[in-house]
């Protein structure tokens, strides 16, 4: 360890701390991760997305626009095994590790990313006092065989970038604006997708009567008089995906 030269890591950290926009920060981070075999960054906060208006969650990435759109359309964050593992993990892990524990829907999310040429990656979970948990996911098109030292280098630089961005953007008003419970949001989201109560019950594995009651509660909260009104209100209040 005595011969270890950490000057590149320090240089990257100092560079990131001087950046003043998200784009500059991501560019600086992307420049650093290149030599580790990664070329894509996805940096985001991991809150319960069902309970939070997505516009208020900090997502920054240099992923292809089509991939971002595809993920958004399919509400990928709800099933993404990498995001779900990051909520529980205290250490960095590879995408492959997370995929091994994924549900069928989760594996589809990972495979969708693969389809865009991002075949291998690593997630660095971010947990802190006085902050919402999040993570920095680094992706690439070739398998990186990283040493523990390299993982630690990436972890530190990602951590500095993540919290630098958080300070830059200010705190986000998450739970304060959440008006529906997770279950209510989930049901309303499916209503917005044109599903019937019976279909929602089948998808979620609950009773149709429960779906009906859940949607009734959501209607009461918004003063909505029918399903269309409920969906329109939920979108207007940023409670579900448009």
């Amino acid at each position: 360890m005595r011969d270890y030269d950490g000057s590149a890591v320090l240089h990257a950290i100092r560079l990131i701390l001087t950046t003043t926009t998200s784009a500059e920060t991501i560019t600086a981070l992307a420049g650093f991760i290149e030599s580790y075999g990664f070329n894509r960054v996805f940096l985001g906060q991991l809150v319960n997305p069902l309970n939070v208006p997505l516009k208020d969650i900090l997502y920054v990435s240099n992923w292809p626009d089509e991939l971002k759109a595809a993920r958004r359309n399919q509400a990928a964050i709800l099933h993404d095994p990498i995001a779900l593992c990051a909520l529980r993990s205290k250490r960095p892990f590879t995408w492959a590790e997370a995929r091994a524990y994924a549900s069928r829907a989760g594996r589809k999310v990972v495979d969708m990313v693969h389809d865009f040429g991002l075949t291998d990656g690593m997630m660095f979970p971010m947990h802190a006092l006085e902050s919402v948990s999040g993570g920095v996911s680094l992706g690439g098109d070739s398998k990186s065989d990283l040493s523990p030292l390299e993982v630690a280098e990436l972890e530190l630089v990602c951590q500095v970038a993540y919290y630098h961005l958080e300070v830059m953007h200010g705190p986000f008003p998450y739970q304060r604006v959440a008006e529906l419970t997770a279950r209510e949001t989930e049901c309303v989201q499916f209503v917005a997708a044109g599903k019937s109560n019976w279909e929602i019950a089948k998808i979620l594995g609950i009773q149709e009567d429960t779906v009906k009651k859940t949607l009734r509660r959501a209607c009461d909260k918004f003063g909505a008089v029918n399903r269309a009104h409920l969906v329109a209100s939920a979108i207007a209040r940023h409670q579900i995906f448009p």
């Binding site: 320090l10 006085e130 530190l156 919290y163 998450y174």
Partner: protein, 216 residues
């Protein structure tokens, strides 16, 4: 706000120091499960509680010790030099008259009734550290910070890591770091203390956040 106990005032504050060491044991050993060799049961006082150590202590209105931290001069043996020198692989741990080491940043959350109290106790310990540094021409503080605490340190003090994160198994990592202390730091901390309710509300969004602090 906070009490600073320096070596020349140990005698007048012996009861307070005893309560502080007992609180540290309750939290550090009882709650965090640390195994600290050579300490007495119920009383966390180790080899880095020396005759040069300075303590910042925060009490509840009832006088119970709710928060504390300790400062040691780096010109003498300290934690980074004696125990964690190999953690500092990015840059050497700083040593000098104007560099002190901060350790045992501990809060007894069983005495804290709301997130705002929690935030304010942490602010008060931080303010005590900065106040002592400013009064004694200390321009840098070195730490071994818990990964979950690092961003907070980074937010309050201008901070650079001294080494890469290190962890045991799958647990959280530790990061050695050095922070710059100046008057702007103190102003920033005062602002955070003053705006505690607002800041906590922004992060937690809970009703508790708007409750008034119960810690004087």
């Amino acid at each position: 706000m906070f009490k600073i106990v320096t070596p020349d005032t140990y005698n007048e504050h012996q009861d307070l120091l005893d309560a502080m060491h007992q609180m540290r044991y309750r939290v550090v050993v009882g709650e965090w499960g640390w195994d600290i060799p050579g300490i007495q049961p119920g009383y966390d006082k180790d080899q880095f509680d020396t005759d040069a150590t300075v303590y910042v202590i925060v009490r509840t209105p009832e006088g119970e010790v709710v928060g504390t931290s300790r400062l040691n001069p780096t010109m003498r043996p300290h934690m980074l030099s004696d125990l964690f020198a190999d953690y500092c692989n990015l840059q050497p741990y700083p040593v000098g008259k104007d560099v002190w080491e901060c350790s045992r940043f501990v809060m007894d959350r069983s005495l804290i009734t709301s997130p705002v109290d929690d935030f304010r106790v942490r602010c008060r310990i931080g303010l005590g550290l900065t106040a002592y540094c400013l009064d004694n021409h200390i321009s840098r503080l070195s730490w071994l910070t818990h990964q979950k605490f690092f961003n907070l340190v980074q937010r309050v003090w201008h901070t650079e890591p001294l080494g890469l994160p290190r962890r045991n198994g799958d647990d959280w990592a530790w990061i050695p770091a050095v922070s710059r202390i100046d008057e702007a730091t103190f102003d920033r901390q005062i602002d955070r203390y003053r705006n505690a309710e607002e800041i906590v509300a922004e992060y937690s969004g809970t009703r508790q956040a708007s409750e008034r602090s119960h810690v004087a």
